[in-house]
């Protein structure tokens, strides 16, 4: 059922009220929800069982210190002790869907509560806003009804967000959440636009049925179109730039091989990544052999192999959340690279990460009547 939820003084407060009701009424036994840290400089995914904590819930805070999709795995993979309401942005929700396919998240006891994403900032930027007493949520909520999604003056959104063509849960080949909370293109401050899959629950919550306002549909279309255009531009720029092996080397020339991109990538779930095994503890003589053969060997070795292997192993399921770029200490546009590569792989198989938990991952299945021999 789609319709309107009675407001409680602003979208932020209305959502907090809704979450409190879900928890106290026993619709869910726990909530995975972003909570403000004590100092207010960060907002972190938290498993909440005590409704009193929801006072600090900040479901709209525009910051993504960790991908909550990964965190959903922590609290469900080996057995959730109850039903969890997972309050997420669409990239996190799509992450959770992908992780469920490789059994890192179990969706049986999960109710997704998707929230329109109005863009996110880097952790350090969000902290600075808090220090300077700027309020990005109020600013975003003031612009959203008119369909505007813009960063605060003097700040920029995370680069991954500016090419995210799926900012609205359930829209654009995305898995539809149990409850979707709409902000974009909705003018009414007195009520919140919601979509609830279970009609009985919608009634319990007091949802007043209604048609989706045309202004919202138009705002969503416009945002998706703008993001898609920007995505195409940025990815074309990458393709233009990285057209041969030397250009690829240049792209990663500043890599310090910290492997942060792999650590923070929600799709890179392997407990024992090959790059953290003794396979890459080469014996000293091997380095000398390589140096002899090639004239020299860059140390640590295998930097490009690390990135290319990651592309081969996970780009097919990349949701474009951008955690990799955030965590790169030298500012390599890792997320753009993975989106460019991932998009090509995904489109060649007609696969959309995060679309449907029942859809098998590209490398987990095959069709007998597809493809042929390859090479010339």
């Amino acid at each position: 059922m789609q319709g309107w939820l009675k407001g409680h003084g602003g979208a932020d407060e209305t959502i907090r009220h809704l979450l409190g009701k879900l928890l106290t009424d026993g619709v869910v036994d726990g909530l995975l929800v972003p909570l403000r840290t004590l100092d207010g400089r960060n907002v972190v995914p938290t498993l909440v069982r005590d409704a009193a904590l929801l006072e600090r819930a900040a479901p709209l805070a525009p910051v993504l210190p960790v991908n909550a999709g990964t965190m959903l795995g922590r609290i469900t993979a080996s057995g959730a002790l109850g039903r969890v309401g997972a309050v997420m942005r669409n990239c996190e929700l799509r992450t959770a869907v992908e992780l469920s396919k490789v059994k890192q998240v179990v969706l049986d006891n999960v109710l997704f509560i998707g929230v329109d994403c109005l863009g996110t900032y880097r952790v350090e930027d969000y902290a600075r806003m808090a220090e300077e007493e700027l309020d990005p949520v109020t600013a975003a909520l003031a612009a959203a009804p008119e369909g505007r999604v813009e960063p605060l003056d003097g700040f920029t959104f995370r680069p991954a967000c500016t090419i995210c063509e799926r900012p609205i849960p359930g829209v654009g080949d995305s898995f539809a959440p149990y409850i979707a909370l709409g902000l974009l293109g909705v003018e009414d401050a007195e009520r919140l636009w919601v979509s609830v899959q279970d009609d009985a629950l919608a009634e319990t919550l007091g949802v007043e049925p209604g048609e989706e306002p045309e202004a919202r549909a138009a705002a969503v279309r416009a945002l998706v179109a703008a993001r898609t255009a920007e995505r195409d531009r940025r990815l074309a720029e990458f393709t233009e730039r990285v057209h041969d092996p030397l250009a690829l080397l240049v792209e990663f020339s500043t890599c310090i091989r910290c492997q942060n991109c792999m650590v923070t990538c929600p799709i890179c779930y392997c407990k024992e990544c090959i790059f953290r095994t003794e396979i890459f503890d080469h014996s000293s003589p091997r380095y000398w052999d390589w140096a002899e053969r090639k004239g020299g060997v860059r140390l640590p070795s295998d930097t490009l192999l690390f990135h290319v292997t990651r592309m081969l192993h996970m780009a097919h399921a990349c949701v474009g959340c951008g955690m990799c770029s955030d965590s790169c200490p030298v500012g390599i546009p890792v997320a753009d690279i993975f989106r460019a590569v991932g998009r090509r792989v995904q489109e060649s198989f007609g696969y959309v990460p995060g679309r449907d938990p029942a859809e098998e991952m590209i490398i987990a299945t095959f069709r007998e009547d597809e493809l042929g021999e390859m090479g010339r």
Partner: protein, 140 residues
Amino acid sequence: MTDFEPRIVAFLCNWCASTAADLAGTSRMQYPPNVRVIRLMCSGQLDPIYVAKAVLEGADGVLIGGCHPGDCHYQSGNFKARRRVAILHQVLGQLGLEPERVWLRWISASEGQYFADTVTEMVAVIRELGPSPLRGQWSI
């Protein structure tokens, strides 16, 4: 470029392609000596990192050989390998890493001649393409 001898790394499955290579050898079939064979139990055992490593280390070509569709000793390993090689092609292509150097062929145990022909053809094509631009790169 006349003295360029392509170096091709071949990953061949135990039951079909590698047996075909043996057959070519025991039958004294002639084919260019440019191929270095690594035997896998199944083409489905091929982790794409093997190919990435070969390509980045400067192999001029990589040949992946498995059983014909439907003939896999492990039922479906070759189908899985095929998807991985398709992904490899897309990724290498997006990165400007010359996917045309990576070949996938189905070669049954009895097709010694086809193995010899494949290697002959591949060497000729790669010779045409020239050496891998990554050959002399110390900085990868």
